[in-house]
Amino acid sequence: MERIPILKMGGYLLVTIQVDMHDRLALTLQDDLTDRIVKTHAKGVLIDISSLEVVDSFIGRMLCNIAAMSKVLDAETVVVGMRPAVAITLVELGLSLKGVRTALNVEKGMIALEQSIKRRMPGNGRLGS
């Protein structure tokens, strides 16, 4: 069966969506990711959508679901690399991706992940306060 690969990098999971996904493939990714978060105890998920030429309401819902599910499983999600034309269209479509953290590129996304994970660990990053 066709699948989107999920890479493990340290405590993070990295997903680069490089194909035009049909709906079932998007649902499979959603299931696979939650599985992998539990199996690997990942603290963060980074989803790179820079190759996606279109994000419609179905893909948008998938991104919202992944962010919500990973949060429940004690992991943070950051979506990176959204194309400007996709962002313009999403807003016009009425989709605001509530609850989904975004960053401009993978590097900024990694920094955002590290920061939010640090913030959640008591004492870490706040030494002396």
Partner: protein
């Protein structure tokens, strides 16, 4: 208003929704739409094609390139013989959903259009016209 060219695609599965996106993208590129307009048209096509498959039980998409005096337009016609939409106004409202989605498909596609029209008869099917003119 003249139809310069047209093409038909059958919509039966979620793979066909992907084909619809790719075909509409090709037409929008060939007709010289801007990147943002291409993205809007393809996104709307994706929403409407999915509706045809999920709610209409499958159907067709017709693509037309239009010439109206000085302007060029891309028109998409989605047709199915499904159960129809009992209350079109309600279906266009954001948040209305029967398919387990976000309920943005129909209203969202209308917002991405320049001209939009729904004809639906309960028990007979639905026909949706989406047009975007090149700016």
């Amino acid at each position: 208003m003249a139809v310069l060219a047209h093409e038909m695609l059958s919509l039966k599965s979620s793979e066909d929704v992907v084909l619809a996106r790719q075909l509409v993208r090709k037409w929008a590129v060939d007709m010289g739409f801007s990147l943002v307009d291409q993205t809007k048209i393809v996104t709307a096509a994706s929403e409407l094609a999915r509706n045809t498959v999920l709610h209409g039980g499958g159907g067709t998409m017709q693509i037309e390139s239009l010439n109206d005096q000085d302007r060029r337009g891309l028109k998409l016609v989605f047709e199915d013989q499904g159960p129809g939409i009992p209350d079109v106004e309600r279906a266009l409202r954001d948040g209305f959903t029967t398919g387990g989605g976000l309920g943005l498909g129909l209203g969202g596609a209308r917002r991405l259009s320049n001209d939009f029209d729904i004809q639906s008869c309960p028990g007979e099917g639905t026909r949706i016209h989406f047009t975007r003119w090149r700016s």
